[in-house]
């Protein structure tokens, strides 16, 4: 049974390597996977669009939130500025009064 020449050996090898039959049901399982994949493809597209829409909505919400926060900070800054200006006006008014009184006292002393 031992191969005697390279030709015999190659013939033995050719016989040993004959194609094996595919497992029973391979085609059936393949066709099921194929039809499953085909129905999944449109679903896959829908999921893709849903994800895209969700991403856009999330980006809009984040952008809107940031803009609103920026606006709030500007309003708070403006209110603080107005308060400082009012405080400065009050202080200025009080200082003017004090200055006027000091001036009138000075005049009285000179007379």
């Amino acid at each position: 049974m031992e191969p005697e020449s390279i030709d015999d050996f190659e013939n033995e090898l050719r016989q040993a390597l004959e194609r094996r039959p595919a497992p029973p049901g391979l085609k059936h399982r393949l066709m099921e996977r194929r039809s499953g994949r085909r129905t999944q493809q449109p679903r896959g597209h829908a999921v893709l669009w849903q994800r895209l829409a969700a991403s856009v909505a999330l980006a809009c919400a984040l952008g809107g939130g940031l803009a609103w926060r920026h606006q709030q900070e500007r309003r708070q800054g403006e209110a603080a500025r107005q308060q400082v200006l009012t405080a400065l006006r009050v202080t200025s008014h009080a200082l003017n009064k004090v200055s006027e009184r000091l001036a009138s006292h000075g005049r009285d002393d000179q007379e």
Partner: protein, 172 residues
């Protein structure tokens, strides 16, 4: 330009499932993995049906992709540290009803011990009866490399067969 031949997926599966499965089985040595590879190859073909120009082209495409996917699977298994060929060496790779002659089974087992490029070249040469030129195109390898793999693979297999089959004959 309209083509005369229109590929029919089911017909291509019927015609080539044995070839694709056998290539994957001989490259990986695992029936389950070979079936999975065969299914993946045909599903890939389904996505490329518009590119298939003739029955010959379909056969060439299937051989090429089957070899490529089998090599990928072997690479993945090597990364995971598994040696699938242990299975076929222990003769679990074939179903009892499919087992070839004892000598054939031994030769198939010995083929499994060859380095992967040599095994690929020998499988295409002796299972598919391809010429070295056709093997080079299928494996996308230089012709000289394929010829070298064939020569070295055959020499190594012959040396192993001479040693192992002598023991087999003595044991029989």
């Amino acid at each position: 330009m309209a083509r005369d031949w229109q590929p029919d997926f089911e017909q291509l599966v019927d015609e080539h499932q044995s070839m694709v499965f056998s290539l994957a089985l001989r490259m990986t040595g695992d029936r389950g993995l070979a079936e999975e590879i065969a299914q993946d190859v045909f599903l890939e073909l389904d996505g490329h049906m518009d590119q298939i120009e003739s029955p010959r082209h379909a056969c060439f495409w299937l051989r090429r992709v089957a070899m490529s996917r089998s090599t990928d699977a072997l690479r993945r298994q090597r990364v995971r540290g598994m040696d699938l060929w242990v299975e076929i060496e222990e003769n679990h790779g074939a179903r009892p009803e499919e087992k070839s002659s004892p000598l054939g089974a031994r030769l198939e087992g010995l083929l499994a011990t060859l380095p992967e490029p040599q095994r690929a070249a020998l499988v295409l040469r002796y299972q598919e009866d391809l010429t070295p030129e056709e093997i080079a195109v299928t494996l996308d390898a230089p012709l000289a490399t394929v010829k070298s793999h064939l020569q070295r693979g055959l020499k190594l297999l012959r040396a192993k067969a001479t040693c192992h089959l002598r023991e087999y004959i003595r044991g029989a």
